[in-house]
């Protein structure tokens, strides 16, 4: 899953013939004035300025300004760029033509196991949640392209009439083409607006998720996906992501501010169960972490050091299932080095470490990490006979 910003989504819409308003994405407010000299629409239309960042609830944060002329848009851009919202900084704004319109519609498509589902409503805009019962659905089986007639039927069943129904069906067919050919997972256009005087349509807002795993077949994807965790990534998270991109196997890390239990866990399935166990026992996690697929020891070492630097942690859970092919001795070698380096740098004071793991070379790995006790670490080591998440229970009782 990869959410993309409005700018790149608009570009893909335009590519597939879905009508979009005129827009520009800028990082420097001065650039807007220069663009204004070159583009008539910037001078003549009412404009909307939106922060072009992965920040939820932009309207409430004052990061969407509407009904502006070029001068006001320039001022709005100047005010937004550089603003800090928690850990995020606004670096770009999108300035779009605010099309005067007569109606707001809702049009979306989302993938499911058997294909995709198209959703259509006449009651688009901010009130769509309240009008969810007006939404008409059309399941589109895999490899099937619905005919314009079918789509017109769906549009009519949603209350669209005459030429508008036909035009909405046409836009829907292009949306399906875009969805299918761009390996999208979901696209939501809300609102899709119409100016009836000249029957002009435009997608005024776009929320699009593409399948990042399919990027190998999309040479023109020049964008990066935005953070999937509801906020921009921290520096430490970005560092681990950079390592992750370079190695076989993987290392993952997400900070959860305020938690007391740090996780240094293995495997995409087991790591989630460790987080669950902490929560189920009334604890708070300081992070989510995962190493899997037999990553290099240095990558695990870097992950370990990152975790040891989390503030105010009381326990570190070095947990994992019985690995199929991740070498316990080798990965624990990285963890041991990470612990040693962290301790030497003044971390881990008063932190208890709880270990449970199995897999290739488990005996050597567990014996090696157990020896850290001789170096003054507060470490408790268990083998496969300890139920996987029970070290969390022990930690929270300690």
């Amino acid at each position: 899953m990869a959410k993309i910003l409005e700018g790149p989504a608009m570009k893909l819409f335009d590519k597939w013939g879905i009508p979009v308003p005129n827009y520009v994405v800028i990082m420097d407010p001065e650039r807007l004035l220069q663009l204004g000299e070159a583009n008539k629409w910037l001078r003549d239309s009412k404009l909307v300025v939106k922060a072009h960042e992965a920040i939820g609830g932009r309207f409430k944060l004052g990061l969407v300004k509407i009904g502006l002329n070029l001068e006001e848009a320039y001022e709005a851009a100047k005010e937004m760029i550089g603003r800090k919202i928690e850990t995020a900084e606004i670096r770009q704004v999108i300035v779009a033509e605010m099309l005067e319109h007569d109606a707001e519609y809702y049009l979306s498509i989302a993938g499911n196991r058997d294909g995709a589902e198209l959703l259509l409503s006449q009651k688009g805009g901010v009130d769509i949640e309240d009008n969810w019962d007006t939404v008409k659905r059309l399941q589109i089986p895999l490899d099937v392209t619905p005919s314009i007639e079918d789509l017109t039927e769906t549009a009519k069943s949603a209350g669209f009439e005459g030429e508008v129904a036909e035009r909405v069906a046409k836009i829907a067919s292009r949306l399906i083409l875009c969805f299918d050919n761009e390996d999208a997972q979901s696209i939501e256009i809300n609102p899709l607006v119409i100016r009836k005087s000249d029957m002009r349509f435009a997608a005024l807002d776009a929320v699009m998720n593409v399948d990042w795993d399919a990027r190998f077949r999309h040479a023109d994807w020049d964008f990066k996906p935005v953070s999937e965790i509801g906020r921009p990534f921290t520096e430490a998270e970005q560092q681990i992501m950079e390592i992750d991109a370079r190695i076989k196997g993987s290392v993952k890390f997400v900070e959860v501010p305020g938690g007391e239990i740090a996780l240094l866990t293995a495997g995409g399935g087991a790591s989630v169960f460790y987080s669950d166990a902490v929560v189920a026992r009334g604890g708070t996690i300081a992070n989510y972490a995962e190493y899997s697929g037999d990553p290099s020891d240095w990558a695990v070492e870097a992950l370990t050091e990152t975790i040891c630097q989390l503030p105010n942690i009381k326990h570190i859970i070095v947990g994992g299932a019985i690995a199929n092919f991740t070498d316990v001795k080798a990965t624990f070698g990285g963890i041991i080095n990470g612990f040693r380096a962290s301790k030497a740098n003044g971390y881990l004071d008063g932190v208890k470490i709880w270990v449970r793991r199995g897999g290739p070379n488990e005996n050597q790995g567990l014996a090696a990490i157990k020896k850290l006790a001789d170096e003054g670490f507060d470490i408790h080591v268990y083998d496969r006979t300890m139920p996987m998440t029970d070290i969390v229970d022990l930690a929270l009782k300690a």
Partner: protein, 610 residues
């Protein structure tokens, strides 16, 4: 009994090195359960025609690599299962081809990062063809006592610890690969082990769902209960709950569902497998799955750690109601042990292997090479030079400072003798013919022999003989040489003479005798011989080969090493000539006709062949 894979399963692995590693693991399992080799062929175009060495216990099998699946299946019609180990960009096409192949009924894919659209299409294709598609992102499928598909089950020791050599009563279904292994272990520890275990992969759209496999387990009489490990995202667990609750089922269901932590995490914060994503309005949340499963009658502990107790409880109930008759565990000692590698048993001292070669000078098994015990970097650091390394490797001892100065000078003055001599000319001919450095230098090197550069060894050898057998009797030595050898090696020069001495010899002799404190009996003996021979003829001087030979004998170098100084020194020169010619882009050399005396027969007609 089992589902999906059994003793008749025969496999083609599509993919490179990861696939070969899986085949090795699978063959270990084949050995443990004493079945025939399950992997019959590989498909990997870059390595077409190669054979991969796969050990089933001590038995070595050579498994062919084909460039197309069609070829592999044509030659191996017994194959009914394909495992995909290719990268994400090629995996889907390959799986499609496998599903469309007549004999193949099951395709399992380990590849991670397969685009969702491709996975969905493969799922639909499998359903249409009436075949099974498992994965993507699946660690594999295990049928205890029968068949292992992929690396599921981990190392050999773990196969035994999880009782995978024989069937138990529990089926295992997981999304995660690591947890499939964990669940098999839990079933062995708290129950009697597994029938089959299937990892379906953690992607958003797995090829086969939990319900399909639950149906299969329900039909397998040996499976009495199923341990299912699910997680937040999708609706496969809810569907499993619906299936369980729909009618009375023969099998019991024990489940663990991951992802309840998302309830308390900041909104939008998600992690884990690609498919572990909650939908709108709590659809697919861990909580809704847990509730649905519990309502349908499944045993669902609060945490994963609680699975041990849950399995034990169900196992005891199944024994109590007679569904399971407990079997005694097989004595570990009766199970086959993987034949160890020679290195391992040698370490334990249980076997003697006669070495093929013996070395006394050099060892690079540690962090860096050691020459006769000394670490190369330490020699560098303590100021030793190439002449000391030479002495270590050729004579196994470090020379004194005076000795190494002499060695250095010998190499320096012998390094080259111009382009005209046989060795350099050979190398130049090669360079001009455009051949590479090692070959061109070897061409020059082949010239070294009795007429060119080969006299050092013999000079040293015979002067040493003289010192020993004819001390103070030069005439006796010369008579002996005349009778037994011929001209004295190291004596005589084509152009140089007493009046026109060889500068190099003069310098070396002067340096060795006057600038060092070393005792040089052999060199002094040779100089005495020279006095006698030059009295007979002016050019019978001690030449450079003789001088070097004698000095090296005096430095205690072994006789057979002496020619090495010439070989080494001239290599420096020949490499220089090759570089020189190559950087000038010299043209190919051909002798001019006027440099050849064509002493041949006159032109004549070839007679008819009889």
């Amino acid at each position: 009994m089992s589902i999906l894979a059994n003793k008749d399963t025969k496999v083609v692995i599509i993919g490179g090195v990861a696939g070969v590693n899986a085949a090795k693991r699978m063959a270990q399992f084949d050995f443990l359960v004493n079945r025939s080799l399950s992997v019959q062929a590989f498909v990997y175009p870059p390595e077409e025609g190669q054979q991969k060495e796969i050990y089933r216990g001590g038995e070595l099998n050579n498994i062919s690599v084909y460039s197309t699946l069609k070829d592999a299946l044509q030659e191996n019609p017994q194959i009914n299962t394909a495992l995909i180990y290719l990268g994400a960009s090629r995996a889907a096409q390959s799986a499609k081809e496998a599903l469309e192949s007549e004999n193949i009924t099951l395709v399992s894919m380990i590849t991670e990062g397969v685009p969702e659209k491709d996975a969905k299409k493969l799922r639909a294709l499998a359903i249409n063809m009436g075949k099974m598609f498992n994965g993507p992102s699946s660690i594999g499928i295990m049928s205890a006592g029968e068949c292992r598909l992929g690396v599921i089950g981990g190392e050999f020791k773990n196969l035994k610890l999880c009782n995978l050599y024989r069937a138990g009563s529990f089926g295992v279904l997981t999304k995660s690969g690591g947890l499939s292994n964990e669940a098999m272990w839990l079933c062995a520890q708290n129950g009697n082990g597994v029938t089959s275990a299937v990892a379906i992969g953690g992607d958003s759209y797995p090829g086969t769902d939990f319900v399909t496999y639950l149906e299969m387990f329900e039909k397998d009489p040996e499976t009495k209960a199923v341990v299912m490990v699910g997680e937040v995202g999708g609706t496969l667990e809810e569907e499993a709950a619906d299936w369980l609750g729909a009618e009375k089922r023969r099998i019991r269901l024990i489940a663990a569902i991951g992802g309840t932590c998302q309830e308390v995490l900041p909104q939008g914060m998600k992690f884990g497998h690609a498919g572990a994503k909650e939908g709108k309005k709590g659809l697919g949340s861990a909580r809704s799955k847990i509730n649905a499963l519990r309502e349908a009658g499944a045993v669902v502990p609060d945490t994963f750690g609680g699975l041990s107790k849950a399995i034990k409880q169900v196992y005891e109930e199944l024994i109590a109601n007679g569904s399971i008759k407990p079997e005694a565990d097989i004595d570990e000692a009766l199970l086959p042990a993987l034949p160890p590698k020679v290195q391992e048993i040698m370490k334990q001292g249980d076997v003697i292997v006669e070495p093929l070669i013996r070395t006394t000078i050099s060892d690079d098994r540690g962090e860096e090479p050691r020459y006769v015990g000394y670490a190369a970097s330490e020699l560098c650091e303590k100021g030793y030079g190439i002449e000391d390394v030479l002495a270590l490797l050729w004579n196994k001892k470090l020379p004194s400072r005076e000795e190494s100065e002499i060695i250095k000078r010998i190499v320096m003055i012998s390094a080259d003798h111009g382009p005209a001599v046989s060795g350099a000319f050979g190398a130049i001919l090669g360079a001009c013919a455009g051949i590479d450095m090692p070959q061109a230098v070897s061409a020059g090197m082949t010239m070294i022999g009795p007429r060119f550069g080969g006299a050092v060894t013999n000079a040293g050898k015979y002067f040493a003989h003289g010192v020993k057998e004819f001390p103070n009797d030069i005439p006796g030595f010369l008579t002996w040489m005349k009778q037994n050898v011929g001209p004295v090696p190291g004596i005589g020069h084509r152009v140089k003479s007493l009046k026109n001495p060889d500068k190099r010899v003069k310098y070396l002799v002067d340096y060795v005798l006057n600038q060092t404190t070393l005792h040089m009996p052999c060199l002094e003996y040779a100089l005495e011989v020279e006095k006698v021979t030059t009295a007979k003829k002016d050019n019978l001087i001690l030449n450079v080969d003789g001088t070097i030979g004698c000095i090296l004998v005096d430095l205690d170098f072994p006789e057979q090493s002496l020619n090495g100084f010439f070989v080494l020194a001239r290599t420096i020169g020949m490499i220089g000539h090759w570089i020189d010619q190559t950087s000038q882009q010299s043209r190919l050399i051909r002798l001019y006709d006027y440099l050849i005396n064509y002493a041949v027969k006159d032109e004549r007609e070839v007679p008819e062949k009889k």
